[in-house]
Amino acid sequence: MYKCNIDSLPKVLDEIRKHYEVFEVGERGAKPVFFPQAEDLMRFKTEGKNIELFDVRAEVQDFVVFGVHACDLRALDVLDNVFLKDPVDTYYQARREHGIIITEACSSPENTCFCTVFGIDPSEPGGDVTIWKDGGSVYWLFNTMKGGDLFMKIESVLEEVSDDIVTDIKSSIRRKLEKLPLAGLSTDDFGAGKTDKFFNDPEWAGLSESCLGCGTCTFVCPTCQCYDIRDFDTGHGVIRYRCWDSCMYSEFTKMSAGQPRLTQLERFRQRFMHKLVYYPDNNDGMFSCVGCGRCLQKCPIQMNIVKVMKRLGGEAK
């Protein structure tokens, strides 16, 4: 365990910047760093009967992602299950391999947080490096080989302290978590194999009735991973790129026969069933919600996964 003064944190970050590109994550979390909203995949140029293909990938250098919360780190595990299983998404993989993740313990969780419901411990978030903050100091713990590499480069600006110095911070975080209004939410009703139980639940109609069909929840969600691949005609060639897509959109997965989900009820159900049932079905029971609370804050009509879980779980209307 190492420490630095909270005032000297910018200096430490500058020290890191001498060696790596640093992404300081804000409210949007770490997902856009590893899985950007839009990304060029390849480029075509036609001349006469020849089509030339260009790989547009630049070589990825090691980079640092700073300030990742425990929920967002778990969200990357959710994405890994999708992108790193065969067939591997090499674009994503390159960034995952080169990213050094510095997590930050949540000293002030919000009222909309419910990560503990999914077994996440934000007092010990993990990652390559973990930092804890208290009033005047920042404590650094280097967890992995990648973290160790980073440590070698900033060793000079840190001082060594004993490991148990953060025990109090951790227990204070845990006390705060217990008191959060959504801490008592239960996932017992959900998980693998529950498709039949919930698919035709009459509650879906009421839950989805005022859904606008915008993509806010999916675009702020740290685990939503759907994307579309499109071609852009530049006038003298074609750029094939991918961009995030949302199951809430009327043209999501549109085929020649149309959208498979014709009503907003079906689209709405798809999103929440995916988080709570379908994903666990395919990934040994792991939920693809991490309780970050972003959809609770951002949905224009304030409909969200907590309300869905409560209503489907049988809480009186």
Binding site: F232, G235, G237, I239
Partner: protein
């Protein structure tokens, strides 16, 4: 910020009944105007959707000009009256977003005004050339 040898690309939407004929007349009278002006014939200036203007900029235009019949002379009676309102608002909005106001223009040119057509294009091309390349409403992907 004028680049050596730089020629602006100008898109001129001309209505079929007046301005396109005006451009013809300019040609017949051997009045010269810059070859940088690419004319797109439209049935009426009112056919020009604001999206066309933006699309022209996206695809590399440095200036966009709309030419139509004089107000009151529209072949379809009132088309250019609507154009006038639409474009006044669109240009004002583009200016509000910080896009140079001299890149856009509406001009009324009748079929008899070949000279005015040439003079308008000369003047517009000159003003756009002075502004240089369109950087604020460009799509870099189209320039690769």
């Amino acid at each position: 910020m004028q680049v050596e040898g730089y020629r602006p690309l100008i898109v001129a939407f001309c209505c079929n009944w007046c301005s396109y004929a005006g451009a013809d007349l300019a040609g017949n009278n051997r009045l010269s105007y810059p070859a940088d002006v690419k004319i797109i014939r439209v049935p009426c200036s009112c056919r020009v959707n604001p999206m066309f203007v933006l699309r022209a900029f996206q695809r590399g235009a440095d200036g966009v000009i709309l030419c139509g019949c004089h107000p009151g002379d529209c072949h379809y009676t009132s088309g250019n009256f609507y154009t006038r309102r639409r474009m006044a608002l669109l240009f004002s909005m583009l200016d509000y977003l910080g896009i140079e106001r001299d890149r856009t223009r509406v001009e009324w040119v009748s079929a008899a005004e070949g000279a005015k057509f040439a003079a308008t294009m000369n003047d517009f091309a000159q003003k756009v050339a002075a502004l240089g390349e369109n950087k604020r409403l460009e799509d870099l992907r189209c320039k690769q």
